[in-house]
Amino acid sequence: METIANDFTINIATANGTGSQSANLILLQSLFEMGVPVSGKNMFPSNISGLPTWYIVRLSNHGYQAPGNRTHIQVLVNPATWHEDLESLEPGSVVIWNENAKMEMTRDDIISYPIPMSKLARTINPKIAKLVTNIIYVGVLAEILGIDQDELEAAVAKQFKGKATAIELNITALGLGRDYFKENLTKSDPYVVEKRPIEKPQFFIEGNEAAALGCIYGGVQMLAWYPITPSSSLAEGIINYIPQLRTDDDGKVTCAVVQAEDELAAAGMVLGAGWAGGRGMTATSGPGISLMQEFIGLGYFAEIPSVFWDVVRVGPSTGLPTRTQQSDITMLYEGSHGDTQHIVLIPGTVEECFEYGWRTFDYAERFQTPIFVLSDLDLGMNRWACDGFEYPDQPMDRGKVVRDRDMFEAFEEFGRYLDVDGDGIPYRTLPGSGMDPILYRGTGHNTKGQYSEKPHDYYDLMMRLRRKIDGARDELPAPIIREEKECQVGIIYLGSMENTIQEIDDLLEETGIKVSQCRVRALPMHSEIENFIRRHEVTVVLEINRDGQLYGILRKELPNELIPKVLSVAYSDGIPPRAKIYFERILEVLKEVGK
């Protein structure tokens, strides 16, 4: 039998709260350190313990990061999903299963490796047998696939930093798994891992942690948050880094943290901080964004620098809190009542999570408006490979603030909302500074900031606001374009789809189509995007939602003649995008227009 090296998918079915997450991460980490191109996706339930969880480990010679299109090796530990999991396997798949789960093996067209996982686990410590079970299947996998024992042990050490007993216990358990397989079973499957030279050193990190670090380096001065999956780890990341990075010798901090009473309050705090001249932020998810709508309108209208991270989960409503989606796009872009328009940054890699972490504050203070960052559960909570973080290449941009009397006197006429420079961005003074005081308000105001109901004050203000945000277009991160010279089919996509786009591209190219890629990184959209569309015969807008929200924005904003060239593929079911599903849908819409 020919071996298949580094190119298959492992699906591990457990229940959450049983310690499987650390076992899976040890597996992932050890593969990664062997130089195997690998990615991991956690499909966990919205409860604390006992419900089905799947972890998908994809090894891919092409470097594909998406969960694969089929499972090659199934680890079966959870009786609750046993049959379902078994049934979905293609013939010939490998199944490593817990013989002690009191469940039957009902398939005979697969390669079966029964392992008495619970029994083995009990030999170590009956009290924590459930926990140990998980690391045993890692040992079995290590043996079957040929994972380096050294790398495994290093990964265990990394996972349980400093906890000697835990490390020892896990290493013993790994051994039990390995030994059991070695002694009782024979490998009859083709899957192996092969060590590869590591070209560029990388590490695994979750987008939320990267973002947290970025915020710290952005000089965040106030974090107000209310816990909500999948954004909590972003806020907690900041909190965790403060002692190391933002604390003086007396243990005092330069970043205030408030656990707010809800998202409305968190949004208010962010505006308060921005109004007072500080860098305030919050991190939340869909329900929080909905609750913040009133304050978002205030931030837009009173022009308050403020930063809002939306780590998107599946909506509407409470939806699937632990599943991923690219929605809320329309809501972020046009949030709140009346007429509004907001700047949205869209990271697609952990490096960008870090970068936008600091850069967003610069934009917020530059444009004096709420800035949103659209991340999602997949990017935020799964581990992504990272080259390392780059230190900001420019000092903090604090925007147009009048800080002293000299600067103030230089104005021919000063007005908080006067467009002095023609870019729609006025100058501001800060409370406590002694500079021109104003009473900010969410009601109509003139260029001096005074209350006004005059039709023209209102009209002028609104037109300036439009100019201001619209003018930001080309100052925001430009799209990342990877273009084929044939300019046949362009794919416009965003955010975490970055993990899947190459695989989709390759699938399409296999059918003979030349595909260019254009990743949108901010709204309002950069003018390069229009050019990209113009250059290509046809463009597909690819997104992980039902309604094609990004596509809708493009249709609104593109010149008429380009609209017929733009097609929409939008699909969402909670799972990180599997290339095949999107590939097939793209083929379909292309066929409809005769491509």
């Binding site: 000089g219 901090v253 707010a260 968190a266 308060g272 007072a276 205030l298 409370p431 406590g432």
Partner: protein, 351 residues
């Protein structure tokens, strides 16, 4: 403002900062003539002036309502933020987090504070955020034309409509129960009492709540209303006479009371002197304060004075362990950790 040229000497009364009272006034009020809120604005002006507050070190905060419009009518040299309905506490919390050294004076209405905003009020109290929080309490929603608010007393009747039958929320009782560190009630018509309570609140570090009965002349000043000028005058139980002795002028003459009195020292060294009137009220005793409020409610009376005071609670800035310099004044180079630190983090992650 402080460095503008000295004015020619004139017979204008100046405060300790050599500022005339004019430096503390604001724009022309657009409230109904006679509105209690305007009386409170005047007391704020006087208190800030007498206390020698630097106007530019004050932040005027408010929500939405007739009451919340008033920051436009006082302290014209202070920055301020007229936010959204019921959410001023959170905006203040954010501002305070980055600039803890300003004096935050919040003004709100009973609709703003007891209905839509009660959650934020409670949590600001809970955090003991440093601010003066004045509720201009008229029992109705003035700006939306006179619907009952959640503080309307049972049996009280506004100009139009049936008497209120729903249990009111006593915001002072609520605050005391939450461990609020400074809780007082007053009346917009009691200039002197309100003035000294306000000055004391400004000297307090922590959340200082002053619930001020402030009649709405347009919708709720008829005789059947328990928040009309007439009713309050006839049914006020004053717990004590109050005097305020500023720290910068401790020898300032105060009327020496007939009976005995209690002096309470505030965080900036100033003193509020409570002169006992009838029964002694100990503002350190939460249960006593609650009892007084419950009794007054049963008898359809309003008790006024300093109801509860506790100087031992850490304020929010202490809880947050902030550096001494207000965060807005911390230089960018300190806010952004050095390149070194990031190199180290990258190294650790790579290892």
């Amino acid at each position: 403002m402080s460095d503008r040229p000295k004015r020619a000497a004139r017979a204008i009364k100046l405060n300790m900062l050599d500022e005339p009272k004019d430096s503390y006034t604001g724009g022309k009020s657009s409230l109904c003539p006679g509105c209690g809120h305007d009386q409170i604005s005047n007391v704020i002006i006087t208190a800030a002036w007498e206390n020698g507050i630097e106007p530019h070190r004050v932040a005027k905060m408010s929500g939405i309502g007739c009451s919340s419009k008033t920051p436009a009518y006082y302290l014209g040299q202070s920055h301020g933020f007229n936010t959204v309905h019921g959410r001023m506490p959170s905006v203040t919390t954010g501002a305070y987090s980055v600039n803890k050294d300003l004096l935050y004076i919040g003004v709100s209405g009973d609709g703003d504070s007891a209905s839509i905003g009660i959650g934020q009020l409670i949590h600001a109290i809970r955090r003991n955020m440093d601010m003066v929080y004045i509720i201009e309490n008229n029992g109705v929603y003035g700006l939306t034309k006179g619907q009952y608010s959640a503080t309307a007393d049972i049996g009280s009747k506004k100009k139009k409509g049936a008497p209120n039958e729903t249990q009111p929320i006593d915001l002072c009782a609520l605050a005391i129960n939450l461990g609020c560190s400074f809780v007082a009630r007053s009346f917009s018509g009691s200039k002197k009492q309100l003035g000294s309570l306000l000055k004391a609140a400004m000297s307090h570090k922590g959340f200082a709540l002053i619930d001020v009965i402030s009649p709405c002349v347009t919708f709720n000043n008829n005789d059947e209303s328990m928040r009309s000028y007439g009713y309050v005058k006839d049914n006020e139980i004053t717990l004590h006479m109050t005097d305020y002795i500023p720290h910068f002028n401790p020898v300032q003459e105060v009327e020496v009371p007939e009976g005995h009195f209690t002096d309470i020292t505030l965080h900036d060294g100033s003193t509020i002197r409570l002169e006992t009137i009838s029964a002694e009220h100990d503002p350190g005793n939460a249960v006593a304060a609650l009892t007084a409020l419950h009794e007054a409610e049963m008898n359809k009376k309003h008790v006024t004075g300093l109801l509860y005071f506790d100087s031992s609670k850490p304020s929010l800035a202490e809880d947050m362990d902030l550096v001494d310099t207000p965060l807005v004044d911390v230089p960018d180079t300190v806010l952004r950790p050095s390149k070194d630190t990031l190199d180290k983090i990258n190294a650790v992650l790579h290892s």
